[in-house]
């Protein structure tokens, strides 16, 4: 009897674990830099910084438990330029139960995890915006890409 009770408890825990917190990210940002981005035509440099649409990425945090959750952000470069700095900020609280906090000012996305924002309960439609700085004529023509990873921990 005791064995059955213990096994049932373990199975229940396993089921609860299967419903652990998760995050989804949809959208992205693609920008083309050309001669129209020169600050003032021939003889001037490229505009240094660029900003994405307000809801370039939409995040959803779901399967949450009773504890607060935390979202970290990092990047993994595919082809990148050393002069670039990529920033991200949260521009909406989203909807759903619970709450979200922090992340409303731009933070640099580094190649190691950085704290982004935190909250509690399931939240959807959390909009985030990107900004890139460091563009100039010193950046050779080509395609530059990086993968931004959002990780939620509860």
């Amino acid at each position: 009897m005791k064995k059955i009770a213990l096994l049932t408890m373990v199975m229940l825990l396993a089921c609860v674990q299967a419903q652990a917190v998760d995050i989804s990210a949809t959208g992205g940002w693609t920008e083309t830099i050309d001669a129209s981005d020169l600050a003032g035509g021939a003889g001037t440099n490229l505009i240094d910084n660029y900003e994405s649409a307000a809801a370039a990425t939409i995040l959803e945090v779901y399967g949450t438990g009773v504890n607060d959750w935390y979202v970290d952000v990092t990047r993994s470069d595919i082809t990148w330029h050393g002069d670039f700095t990529l920033y991200v900020k949260r521009i909406s609280d989203g909807t759903g139960s619970g709450w979200v906090a922090n992340g409303i000012a731009y933070i640099a996305i580094e190649t190691v995890d950085s704290d982004f924002f935190n909250g509690n309960g399931d939240r959807s439609n959390i909009n985030v915006q990107y900004r890139l700085t460091g563009m100039s004529v010193s950046v050779p023509p080509g395609m530059y890409s990086t993968t931004v990873t959002y990780t939620v921990t509860e």
């Binding site: 652990a20 998760d22 693609t30 920008e31 003889g43 395609m143 990086t146």
Partner: protein, 164 residues
């Protein structure tokens, strides 16, 4: 239940609980930038009309020069050059020369005679944005063999091209 069984179940219980407490999940997005090739050049305007109308007795007519115009350049490429050409050749015994001061990066070829064939005016230009007003000097010259030449115009085209 044996002691081993209790210990095993406790371990599984704690492991599951720990996993529950540090549950984590990730998703990714891609951010991409395409930087196009940029080769832009502009001039400040047209030079004044050039006229060969004086001479020292016993010598060929005096040249006429104009250095009132400038150019600006931006390129994000390496090893670029500026070439120059006119839309139709000059009359016989009349020549039009051009001299471009090099931007902060590059070397000027000095005085170059313009024709319908593009000539290299500045070479070795790499990733520069120079709008400081690099001077363009035009020199019109004619020998007495040219005789009297009616007023005419030429369009000078400056082009940024890949260096050889």
């Amino acid at each position: 239940m044996s002691k081993l069984g209790i210990i095993s179940l406790t371990f599984v219980f704690l492991l599951a609980l720990t996993n529950l407490l540090i549950a984590a999940s990730s998703d990714t997005q891609t951010v991409s930038f395409s930087v196009s090739s940029i080769d832009e050049i502009s001039v400040s305007g047209d030079p004044a009309a050039l006229c060969v109308d004086t001479a020292t007795a016993g010598s060929e007519p005096d040249d006429d020069t104009d250095a009132t115009t400038t150019y600006a350049i931006t390129t994000n490429n390496t090893n670029r050059k500026i070439t120059g050409a006119i839309d139709s050749n000059m009359p016989a015994n009349v020549s039009l020369e051009i001299n471009l001061v090099a931007p902060t990066v590059g070397s000027s070829a000095g005085d170059m005679t313009l024709s319908t064939t593009a000539e290299d005016l500045v070479t070795g230009i790499t990733q520069v944005a120079d709008g400081s007003g690099n001077t363009i000097t035009y020199t019109l010259s004619a020998t007495v063999a040219a005789g009297i030449v009616a007023s005419d115009t030429r369009t000078v085209t400056l082009t940024i091209a890949a260096g050889s």
